[in-house]
Amino acid sequence: MVDVTEFAIEAHDIVKTFNDGEFTALGGVSLQVPRGEVFGLLGPNGSGKTTMVRILSTILAPTSGSATVNGHDVFKESDKVRKSIGFAGQFAAVDENLTGFENMRMVGLLNHLDRKFVEQRAHELLASFGLTDAANRRTRTYSGGMRRRLDLAAALVASPPILFLDEPTTGLDPQSRQELWNIIENLVESGTTVLLTTQYLEEADRLAKQLVVLDKGKIIAQGTSAELKAQLGNTVLVLTFQSPTDATKGAEIIKEISSKTLNIEGTVVEMTIDKGPSSAADALRRLDASGIELSGLVMREPSLDDVFLNLTGHKAEEVSPSVPTKGRRTRKVRS
């Protein structure tokens, strides 16, 4: 197949409203996904990630906007799009009454592939995903990790050049997550384009070359994972004080150290810092000089929550638009 378009996926100003415009799931999202890499859509529940993936994979029609996938118009040539994509949704959509092999065969036949080819391909994929032993067992008996792998394998039956993965590792144990990451990395090495949604910064960081951060249906930041992290700062300093009053005083003293987010909750102050140990040492010196005592200190890697706090002023799990911003300084980041 000859493709003249540079991008595997291009979306322009996608809007999706529900309930006659009462609720806006997507408020004008544009994307350009280069071929042969993982593109990450990062955001909390309710941010519009899933809606975006559903629209691009022809499952859902948008209210307005335009998009092409593999050079085909998503809304006018949806059948051509469907032949170019694989889709693995959030809930590992496998038929529990069928065996792993039967699930693969069903999806292959519904992709309009030759029966013999489908059966051979099913065996190969099951083998490469470590499911050969379970191939003839009903998927009802599969573990969560096995279901995800089967779901992904089924999405690959027709060897699609573009793959949509909606939160592929949500709810998985660390080992299964690791296995799935390896599989995705191998796919990309062999030329597949992957659009991945995730709630985990770690996952986006590990897999995605480029990232878009969604919040309430809008893109609030985009860039490479390194760019986003650089904007964010590398470390979060968590200080526990002996009283909320101390915490407020302490926050006032140390806030000059970093231009990033500072968040007070009870006796705990969290601050994203730029320079790791030296910024932390600076904070401790200042607190010591003012005579405020600490009852705890932790340094940790920034999480999605920190990204959100930094970009939006509210935490990832807070979906409501009215978020208290008292005690928080926020900064809009753009790249």
Binding site: R54, G89, F91, M106, H112, D114, F117, S159
Partner: protein
Amino acid sequence: MTMTTPVSTRSAFRWAISDVLVLARRNLIALLRTPVALVFSIIQPIMFVVLFRYVFGGAIHTGTNYVNYLIPGILVQTTIFGSVSTAIGLAEDLQKGLIERFRALPMARMAVLAGRTISDLSRNILVLVVITSVGFLVGFRPGGGIVAYVQASLLMLSFAYALSWGFAFIGLAAPTSEAAQAMTFPLIFPITFASAIFVPVQTMPTWLQGFATNQPVSVTAEAVRGLMLGTPHGSTSYVSLLWALGAVVILGPLAVRKFRQAIK
């Protein structure tokens, strides 16, 4: 991992048929692998047979041998109840994300609905055979002949198949499969009980008789009974077929439309 994928050259129409068969087969496999569900769907009509034949039957006067009145009615009721499983099956597929997956595949759009209604039709045929046999065991002796018996069976299967498109709509509108089942109950209950399935409508109060006589389930029951027993049944078999046709024409597009909007 990538390799050349053989794209078949069959026409769109033949692929649509293939899609329907793949999905109908998948539903039937599920049915055979959950025998408990199948057994329960057969036990319920058997209980109705026993209840009306031996418990209520003595008090119901139809002017004929009641068992011959009863069994055709129970068969109609059973096939209608059977078509409810279309709602439950689709609601389950929707809930488990399977319909979402199907919609991202290059398959025929109507195949999910057609595959489901066809597998439910097959299931109805099986239940029909079982309940007919149970009927014979409890003394059912139809006198209409084998051809009329087959015609009667086809008539009620067509009627139930038409209704299953309405239940497809409900299944796609329901939030869960349990809700789908609950939503069908208030529809199914009045049309099967305020009908000529168990008792002659003449025994009902006058305000109910108009509805009970003319509603499609009664019409179908009268036609099936007439055909099976070889008794006069007027134009009821044609009217029943018209109802079935009308239901498919109206409910079919509604279900397809709902299918398009089902995922949010």
